[in-house]
């Protein structure tokens, strides 16, 4: 499956998405965040990309990008989807109704990049310690040499 084919099959229902070629995959789809559930359902059922590979988030300072990788067993190919949401109000519909495996990916994106997923069943922090206040994968979060940190251990 090529990018043109994917584009052709999506053009009728989703005129607002852009399909561009991406080497090594079936293409990359850029879509508005509001159409997430609709588009992913169509990609899963209509195009046959029924296996969610990953959900990742990137911080582009002014806005945040979410990208989804799905795999089709029939086409033996990956398909990339990405959307951008403003950094001021980083929230998005959760993908868990369509792909249950998005659960932990979204938890991770929430705590590391600071994106809130609406209607997510369980948005507790996954990797960072309880009560950790920062989103480490934001560009504004800088790493320190440990000497600058005051070392404190909680009493057990």
């Amino acid at each position: 499956m090529e990018a043109e084919e994917v584009g052709a099959r999506l053009r009728e229902r989703f005129p607002d998405v852009v399909v561009e070629p991406f080497p090594g995959t079936a293409g990359r789809i850029r879509f508005p965040a509001a159409r997430l559930i609709e588009l992913l359902t169509e990609v899963r059922d209509g195009l046959g990309f029924d296996h969610l590979g990953q959900v990742g988030a990137i911080d582009w300072v002014e806005e945040r990008e979410l990208f989804y990788t799905v795999w089709s067993d029939r086409a033996k190919q990956y398909l990339f989807l990405s959307t951008r949401i403003p950094a001021g109000e980083p929230h998005l519909e959760s993908l868990t109704p369509v792909f249950p495996s998005a659960n932990w990916h979204e938890r991770e994106a929430c705590e590391l990049v600071g994106i809130t997923f609406d209607h997510h069943p369980d948005l507790r922090p996954l990797l960072t310690p309880t009560g950790y206040q920062f989103h480490p994968l934001l560009r504004s979060f800088r790493l320190h040499e440990p000497e600058e940190l005051e070392v404190k251990v909680r009493d057990v």
């Binding site: 991406f22 990137i58 990208f67 033996k76 990797l127």
Partner: protein
Amino acid sequence: MWINMGPQHPMTHGLWNLRVKIDGELVLDVDPEMGYLHRGIEKISEDRHYNEIITLMDRTCYVAGMAWEHLFIQAAEHALHIQVPERAQWIRTMSEEFQRVASHLMWYAAFVQDIGLMSPFLYGMRDRDLVLDLFQSYTGGRLTYEYMRVGGVRNDLPPGFTDQARKVCDWLSDRFVEYDRLCLGSDIFHRRCDNLGVLKASECIRYGITGPMLRSAGVARDLRKDRPYAAYGQVDFEVAVADGADVTGRYLVRMEELRQSLRILRQTLDWLDRNAGPVMAENVPRWMGAPYAPVGREGYLLKREYPKGVGFSAIEEPHGEALAYVVNEGGEHPYRVKLKSPVFVNIAAARQYLVGYRVADIPPIMGSVDVCVGEVDR
């Protein structure tokens, strides 16, 4: 009653916590708690040069370092538009397969300990050491290699390596017979493992599960076959599949994969004997990937600008499908590195294959999932 299995528990084989709600011996609910080994590899990568990230990749999954190096290097080469010479591709293929053998042997050792077999644990560790010795002879490391470079591999194989490697392959294929006798030959093994931790193919796909867990459910899906990378398109092997979707099925798949890996290894060793050539690409800057080059500091002085680009790679890691996504915004560090670990997804679905079984079944089931916490927490 909730009990914590972890972070210090013999079942975990790593640093994570499985909270289990039990009624007597019955498991009612589970809640995996990760992050005890979260080292921020993705964040550190943003501050590091490409070849410095290889160091981190080895430690991301400490039982499959070579596979993760391969994963990241492929994504980086994709992002930086670098072509890799053929011999380097074959050496990478060989390294990854040896890594698969080592990782599966480690899995075997840990898994049999979970069902209470004592001596095969040591047999697995002993035979794994032979593979690690091979790694040591051409990379210098046992677990962490820093062997692959952007554009190829660090150095060519030492003379006489292939003969030694063939000997190890022959020895191992003899040992696998004994392994099977110890496990499959035992009635207790079948009583313990048959119809245990069942996750059907449709559920596997719904929950995004890959690797031996998916193949044990009868889905013949292997990126080495479906989306061949490196030299996998030119070698002859079969995808190991089992039906049953249970612990025994996962055992059978992994043991068959070990045999297929030896088959691939023999082919790659033959190819490497016949063909010589460069192992490092021409168009890579010398400071970046040349053999024995001081890595990193020179690079900062040169301030080379890379073309902008996005790299994506997917490999069939011993645990399943691993994905890497590297964004390069023109600097000498990647802008963002996103790694997807197969174990991350497999553990996330723990509720699907643990609830309803007994407390005593948790170790074999989690053992058959083959948890490597390093790549889950990153």
